[in-house]
């Protein structure tokens, strides 16, 4: 019999403020242990938290981004609550979070999984502080505590259980990750823990009651998210089919063994005894503030995608690829701009030319080299300049590709510390290597005349209806120009001569 997998995600996104959510200590990553943990962060007696405006503003931006820029999902009055539990990396004995009145309620994220669009509803997003770090290496049988991370602002984004496969969960996490980076509220650095997911997984008979869920904690890569959900769902199905029962629990994913393991029973752990934090007054978000945040917001991914489809007649697929992250869209628009002569208006062919180059050359290379989204080994000016020369017929597309690859290699040789090539280098290479394409029709005609004489057989075949023979003649003409003939010009002149 069939089983349906039901998944909801809770994502912790570290907000990109320079200081902590309730103190003026720095949030910079990688500092020496406990040098960025002030009195508030280590919970000295008598200290009081003061809310960071930057953290609240980022939460508002998120709320607007997942609600079509309408602010009706942003709570005008939200409240901080204490979540009580004991752990050494939480010196206060409680985490300041939001419970009954989170800053954002509702909204949605649209994903593409298995080639279909799907809307994942969001339950809420709330502000909270991160805990410190426990280091369980050997300190004479003791645990070392670093509180630099304590008090770092987090936005916990909770989805509805709307996902039905590990692929959908990964697509959601990737879309959310790109959106947070896009609107500039989270750096998305997963190695540094800026974006971590907890997955609630249960299985049921299609259409039946929801099954008991188990929560997989702290998944910090998309690959682990996929593997952990797949393993967990299969484990639940196997358990139920063997006549067993699922007990609500928190589990950890062990990437080495590829399995999930129960961490602790939730009965006690979940009794957090939330109550409003008497140290903090409610935050009020007025219409003016929302309007101000909205005014500072740029185009959202979905808006840019639709614009590309509308203004440039791109397919949904091309538009999606070009807007997968903020930087790629900017890069594409930069290349397009640089490929035009001053004041020139781009046409359909120009859009397509630049899009094809960015998708098939640039992104392919970026992915092959495993570079982060904003890293392009060749600048948009350089690529744009190459394409300008392709458009004007000065160089062939083949030459442009070779030069582009060479520039990319140059950057790679320097471990991508800076970009390879420049428009000036393009000009130099054209001169020193004689890369200029022969477009002069007089020169090409002379060459074609010779080719026609030398290849009478092919001419005969073409005239008797063999279209293939035409390509052979083009090949001969290209060879005669040592590969520098403008293919469009050769095609045109050859066809004219053969059919006249």
């Amino acid at each position: 019999m069939d089983w349906e997998i039901v998944i909801g995600l809770e994502t912790h996104a570290q907000l990109s403020t320079v200081s902590k959510i309730f103190s003026g200590a720095s949030t910079a990553f990688g500092a020496e242990a406990n040098t960025q943990a002030c009195g508030v962060d280590i919970a000295l007696p008598g200290v009081l938290p003061v809310i960071n405006r930057g953290a609240v503003e980022r939460a508002i931006r998120f709320g607007l981004a997942v609600n079509g820029k309408r602010g009706d999902n942003i709570c005008r009055r939200s409240v901080f609550a204490r979540k009580n539990y004991f752990y050494p990396d939480l010196p206060k004995g409680y985490q300041i979070s939001q419970f009954e009145f989170p800053i954002v309620t509702g909204g949605s994220v649209t994903i593409i999984a298995n080639k279909a669009e799907k809307t994942i509803r969001l339950t809420r997003a709330h502000l909270e502080e991160d805990a410190g770090k426990s280091l369980h290496e050997d300190f004479q049988g003791l645990t070392g505590i670093d509180l630099n991370r304590a008090g770092t602002p987090l936005l916990e984004i909770v989805s509805e259980p709307d996902m039905r496969s590990a692929e959908e969960a990964v697509a959601y996490a990737k879309t959310l990750h790109a959106l947070l980076r896009w609107i500039g509220i989270c750096d998305g650095n997963m190695q540094e823990g800026s974006f971590r997911c907890d997955a609630n997984v249960s299985v049921r008979r299609p259409g039946g009651e929801l099954g008991t869920r188990r929560e997989i904690k702290n998944l910090n890569s998309f690959r682990f998210l996929q593997q952990a959900i797949e393993y967990e769902a299969q484990w639940q199905i196997d358990t139920l089919e063997a006549g067993g029962k699922i007990r609500q629990a928190t589990v950890l994913f062990d990437p080495d063994a590829g399995v999930t393991r129960e961490m602790r029973s939730k009965e006690d752990a979940h009794d957090y005894r939330y109550f409003p934090d008497p140290d903090l007054l409610p935050i009020e978000v007025g219409e003016g503030w929302i309007a101000q945040v909205l005014a500072g917001m740029g185009e959202l991914p979905v808006e840019r995608k639709l614009r590309f489809q509308r203004e440039m007649s791109f397919s949904a697929y091309d538009a999606e690829v070009l807007t997968a992250d903020w930087e790629t869209g900017n890069y594409f628009e930069g290349v397009l701009q640089a490929s035009l002569q001053g004041g020139e208006k781009p046409g359909q062919g120009d859009f397509k030319l630049c899009a094809n180059w960015v998708i098939n050359e640039v992104l392919a290379k970026r992915n092959a080299d495993n570079l982060p989204p904003g890293k392009f080994a060749v600048s948009e000016e350089t690529l744009g300049y190459l394409l300008r020369l392709v458009r004007s017929g000065d160089i062939s597309a083949r030459t442009a590709k070779d030069v582009f690859s060479e520039f990319w290699e140059e950057s790679r040789a320097r471990a991508f510390s800076d970009q390879g090539g420049s428009p000036e280098n393009v000009d130099k290479l054209i001169v020193t290597r004689g890369l200029k394409q022969v477009s002069d029709s007089g020169a090409i005609e002379a060459i074609i005349d010779q080719v026609l004489v030398a290849n009478a057989k092919s001419v005969e075949e073409f005239r008797s209806g063999k279209e293939k023979a035409f390509n052979a003649l083009v090949g001969q003409a290209m060879k005669a120009t040592k590969g520098k003939g403008n293919p469009a010009a050769i095609n045109e002149i050859l066809r004219r001569k053969l059919t006249s």
Binding site: T17, V18, S19, S23, G24, A25, S26, E32, A33, N34, T35, Q36, A37, C38, G39, I42, L44, V50, I51, N52, R53, G54, A55, V56, R77, V79, N84, F86, Y87, P88, F101, S134, L135, H136, F139, G141, L142, T143, G144, I145, D146, L147, L252, M263, R264, D268, D271, R273, P276, P278, L280, L281, P282, I283, E284
Partner: protein, 95 residues
């Protein structure tokens, strides 16, 4: 809603307070007397009253996002029971 001894044990466990049997009885009596006060409060008709989350009827003042703290680790750690390589050392806790 009087608390049972088991509920007192559970609350004590959650608060990490170790109570002996006689202490449980004392705590039970004390907590229950607090609960009777709460019951009195709950008898008040609050229909139409917006719940407050804070005794002060004010909203939070926000801080600008700026780093204002300096490193005072050495001072903070001078009173810590045990420190190594800048870390606070605590009894081992493993999930």
């Amino acid at each position: 809603m009087p608390l049972t001894p088991d509920e007192v044990r559970r609350v004590a466990m959650l608060a990490r307070i170790e109570l002996s049997e006689p202490e449980i009885a004392t705590a039970q009596a004390q907590l229950n007397s607090i609960f009777s006060l709460i019951e009195t409060l709950q008898a008040t008709d609050t229909k139409g009253v917006t719940p407050m989350s804070h005794a002060g009827d004010l909203v939070a003042r926000l801080r600008e996002d700026r780093v204002t703290e300096i490193d005072q680790r050495d001072r903070f750690q001078s009173v810590a029971p045990q420190v190594e390589r800048g870390l606070y050392l605590v009894p081992r806790v493993i999930e």
